[in-house]
Assembly symmetry: C2
Homo-oligomer: 406 residues x 2
């Protein structure tokens, strides 16, 4: 007998980042070493204050926290935002189960089934999961490797806005592209959302990961749209605490948190202990973040230098986050990724990449692209890149040069 | 400027359990002591193994866990189910962010917007939140205080089934009613779901809270529907660890976990440390659960004895969980609850109850009913009940006798 599943879950795809994991595990079981460029799990040590504060927790009953979040954590998040000249009252911040729940709640609050959100593609692949689960449609704003994934013109973007378009969802710094939007691009988006009565859901979990001394502006720094900007945040990357699952929503429009609090109450609360730990994390000295930034910038340099030396690979230098999307001279990036795991090694070692098709909403795009995360330490990263270069040369499905963007 | 919010979030209500909290806080600020019968936050000590195992965690990077859940925790949950003669393979169990996420994921996997789930009412109020957030309609199966909240006849239930009815969602033992369904009732539901190609989503988080030596059967113990039963579970009540937010889904139909895993990947993982703690909790000796059961049975006795002595109060003896829904001789239970907080005390102390209207889907039902949670220690519970009795006598909106069920 078979259960009938919903159309929405049938429409969901397995995570393109995680679905090749069984193949990687099989390779490892055969003794092959795999360098993971496919997942954004940093090797940076989590500030010890996280575990320290949790170890000191000594209440006998592990009780519910309040639904909007532990007031101490909310205070710590507000203090952190002040350092970016963003000023949120405690009732304008909600703690969530990771940035994932923050994104989901923001879209639920703004979109009914059939409504649309515009998203620059390639985008964080789980945006597909979130939107399909709640029957929201992604209208992609296509960006290209050759242009460093910067946005198309205002007219180009406006062309696809309908009366069902409720928000623009984007990550800045960009996952998977490493793009940092210019002030001109941000002003353009500001004009668009005001003109068309839309909201910006700004996923800024990589705020500290900006390189080359580039000036970073948050969407929370644009006063003219402060009532229509929702900031999604997380401790995952900032403090290398992905497993803590502590995120947040911040919005100067008080109606927003009044609405979203109903979703927060529905799931009762975020784990009590993780909030204690996250509060400590937000007290981490700026020197930690500076050191992490320096470390990632070096890794970015290692990665980009190596990529430039690979014939047929197309990419611009990523300026933020710790990812890059590259076009490769291969017939199919997923086939190539699997081939690297199953059929290729250099001295018993290989490299795993994330095929990029799952990061696009437009069918057919990203077929010969991959996302690389530079979360490994420099020497490992250098080895991984050497292996990738050798793999691209040896791959039977190699093509003359990647298919250019239309 | 105002943002346009979604119909789905506008349709959500504030938690009836939590929405009076500001009024309670105001009472406390004036020095009044409030006995909380409104929320199921037990005062039972969490087994120390929870914090102990977390304190011993010593990895330097708090990394993502696997999306379906930590294999050790899944193994521990499977071993726990074996003690109830339920036999799940590891790939038939998924770890979730509390029972809340488990319920949400199960309904998303089975229902598209506009689909229906049948739920015996009164029901756990957050079912309203979950379903509205994902555009699923609750079709209530009305049950009555006078009948101990047992189910109506098979014909009565079948009358409301449509081609859009995808599942029956229920809690057993029942929150908020304290009902334990008889084997006959379970067999009836089994016939119904087979006949109409539906699934049972069985919220059994109170499995250990069954009194008077009553034999408890899980929906997981009915082999004829094992492929269409989804078990929702949680450590929250079982181990008094509400703040851990660790729940699970279990289903013998392997297609179910294959579908739901896509939702799990979407939110990446459940917190790493909480899973370590929960694994330890599932190793708690049975003696702990027996002691807790004895303690709650005594509290149930204290509560029920006191209720029987309150003129005009109608309820049957609750047999499980740690709640009861009572009809009270009042015009409006919410007004009464607020009045108790704002205008009534006995020697500076008062009692807080949860108005029951929010536990019903049928408009108008539950207006003079309240849910009481007996999670306080016996002496406090006795005091709280004395205050409730005195309050009911003094309340200006007292009516001759509660409105009988239709």
């Amino acid at each position: 007998m078979s259960v009938r599943f919903s159309d929405r879950i049938n429409a969901m795809q397995e995570s393109p980042i995680r679905k090749l994991v069984p193949i990687a595990n099989a390779a490892k079981a055969k003794g092959k070493k795999v360098y993971h460029l496919n997942i954004g799990q940093p090797d940076i040590i989590t500030p010890p204050s996280f575990l320290k504060s949790i170890r000191e927790f000594d209440q006998e009953v592990i009780a519910y926290a309040t639904s909007p979040g532990d007031p101490k954590l909310i205070e710590a998040i507000a203090a952190y935002y002040k350092t970016y000249d963003m000023h949120f009252e405690p009732d304008e911040i909600l703690v969530t189960n990771g940035g994932s729940e923050a994104l989901m709640f923001a879209m639920m609050a703004l979109c009914d089934p059939g409504d649309e959100v515009m998203v620059p593609e390639p985008f964080y692949a789980n945006y597909n999961a979130f939107t399909r689960a709640i029957n929201v449609k992604i209208v992609p704003i296509t960006t290209k490797a050759e242009e460093g994934f910067h946005l198309p013109s205002e007219a180009e973007i406006e062309k696809n806005i309908t009366e069902k378009t409720r928000a623009i969802v984007l990550s800045n710094p960009g996952n998977p592209t490493g793009v940092i939007y210019t002030r001109d691009e941000m002003d353009m988006l500001s004009r668009i959302v005001r003109k068309h009565d839309m909201t910006i859901i700004a996923d800024e979990v990589y705020r500290e990961f900006v390189y080359d001394g580039l000036k970073y502006t948050s969407f929370g720094n644009l006063p003219e749209i402060s009532d229509r900007v929702v900031i999604v945040d997380s401790v995952s990357k900032r403090y290398s605490a992905c497993g803590a699952r502590i995120g947040s929503l911040a919005c100067k429009n008080k109606d927003f948190s009044k609405q979203v609090i109903k979703l927060c109450q529905g799931r009762l609360c975020v784990p009590t202990l993780e909030q204690v730990g996250a509060t400590a994390l937000y007290g981490t000295p700026a020197s930690y973040l500076n050191e992490v930034n320096t470390e990632y910038q070096e890794r970015r340099n290692t990665l980009y230098k190596a990529l430039k030396e690979m014939p047929g690979v197309i990419c611009e230098e990523p300026k933020g986050a710790f990812y890059v999307v590259i076009k490769m001279p291969v017939d199919d990036a997923e086939k190539f990724a699997i081939w690297m795991l199953e059929n290729f090694d250099v001295d018993g070692e290989t490299t795993m990449v994330a095929p990029a098709a799952g990061f696009y909403a437009t069918p057919g795009l990203g077929k010969n692209e991959a996302r690389l995360a530079y979360v490994l330490k420099n020497e490992d990263l250098a080895k991984a890149m050497d292996i990738l270069k050798a793999g691209l040369e040896a791959y039977p499905g190699r093509i003359e040069s990647p298919i250019p963007s239309a």
